[in-house]
């Protein structure tokens, strides 16, 4: 066979490069356009509807003790909501436990309002008109930390232990698909379909991700909290069902929230 001429090779190489760059161009256009879509959504976040409900719920007298949650101590003193979320999860002396926001709310519903654990946690995640009190309360409480710098301390031994266990769970591979959290969130610049995957093992990624939950999910038309984020990631990891406010959920939240320290909290957000 005749060897291809140098000019033919050059032409083929140029063609290949053109095809490749056209592909890359199309891909970057796609990303740009998706970015524009996300931008357009920012204006008018239905999370506000949940925030309004949450504020009313916080002040409403409920439960066997007919009490509001206004005396609930989120870590900065009874009733102090401003900036509280940016320091959670944290260890609480009265429960001798590390608690994230939802866990603490359950604690207050039991101790202040007189609900049982089962009553308080009847509906962790809402669906349509069957709303979750936690999603409303979390929307409002977290909105009171907007702009506050994340500062989750590991001063207490139980906080350090929670962080350490959370880190282990983050890399734990299991289930039918061998997935760990790290499978999708352990490298820079990856995406699933067209969704960017934050690298949660690095500060920038953890900050970007953690500070934008809770979020209004347009795909669901619901306001979702960080507990939900973990719950649904594990479903898609093909793990069994994560129990609401379980020790593992709080440990993982501690790991991720602490990694986000130093960033300004910026939720409730709006996401796909």
């Amino acid at each position: 066979m005749k060897r291809p001429s140098a000019s033919l090779v050059a032409a083929l190489l140029a063609l290949a490069a053109a095809v490749a760059s056209a592909g890359a161009q199309a891909q970057s256009d796609t990303i740009d356009e998706i970015q524009k879509y996300r931008q357009q959504l920012q204006d008018g976040n239905p999370a506000e509807l949940w925030e309004a409900r949450g504020e009313a719920l916080w002040k409403q007298k409920r439960g066997p003790k007919n009490a509001s949650l206004e005396a609930c101590d989120l870590g900065k003193g009874p009733g102090v909501v401003k900036g509280a979320y940016a320091e959670m999860p944290r260890w609480f002396a009265d429960a001798d436990r590390v608690m994230d926001l939802e866990t603490r709310l359950v604690h207050c519903m039991i101790t202040l309002q007189g609900f049982t654990f089962a009553e308080a946690t009847r509906r962790p995640y809402g669906a349509g008109s069957n709303r979750s009190d936690f999603e409303s309360l979390a929307a409002w409480i977290t909105s009171e930390s907007k702009g506050v710098t994340m500062n989750v301390a590991l001063g207490h031994a139980k906080e350090r232990e929670a962080y350490q266990l959370g880190e282990k769970m983050f890399y734990f591979r299991g289930g039918s698909h061998d997935f760990a959290c790290a499978t999708c969130h352990g490298e820079d610049g990856k995406r699933i379909r067209l969704q960017d995957l934050p690298n949660l093992t690095r500060k920038a990624g953890a900050q970007l991700a953690y500070t934008t939950w809770p979020a209004y999910r347009v795909s669901q038309g619901e306001l979702r909290t960080f507990q939900w984020r973990l719950y649904d990631c594990f479903r898609q990891q093909r793990f069994p069902e994560l129990k609401f406010t379980s020790e593992a959920s709080v440990a993982l939240t501690t790991f991720l929230a602490h990694n986000a320290n130093g960033a300004a909290f910026n939720a409730p957000a709006i996401k796909r």
Partner: protein, 103 residues
């Protein structure tokens, strides 16, 4: 009863910008629930905004408007401190009226 709307109204150089978020499922009537039964259509059909008794926008909506609807428009001649009143009515006859002050 339906939850209140969130209405943000700002006046600048005589132009009043109105942004409304409504709490509504906007069911298409084509979605099935977990048991496989069709969820009946339930959606806002009419929206009217008034300023000092005059209609500044009226809308007819179908099921394609997204859940928890967002609406933005602007009108001329509104004054700071005055109110805009917004009403919606859905296909089941449920209604909601809220007002907000121009800031």
């Amino acid at each position: 009863m339906a939850d209140p709307m969130r209405i943000r109204i700002a006046e600048k150089d005589g132009l009043v910008n109105v942004r409304i978020l409504m709490s509504h499922e906007m069911e298409t009537g084509q979605r099935k629930d977990s048991s496989g039964a069709l969820v009946p259509a339930h959606f806002i059909r009419n929206v009217v905004a008034t300023y000092q008794g005059r209609t500044v926008l009226s809308a007819q909506w179908g099921t394609a408007v997204a859940k928890n609807p967002f609406l933005e428009f602007s009108f001329k001649g509104g004054k700071k401190g005055e109110k805009v009143i917004v009403t919606w009515e859905d296909n089941k006859g449920d209604k909601r009226t809220d007002e907000a002050t121009i800031s």
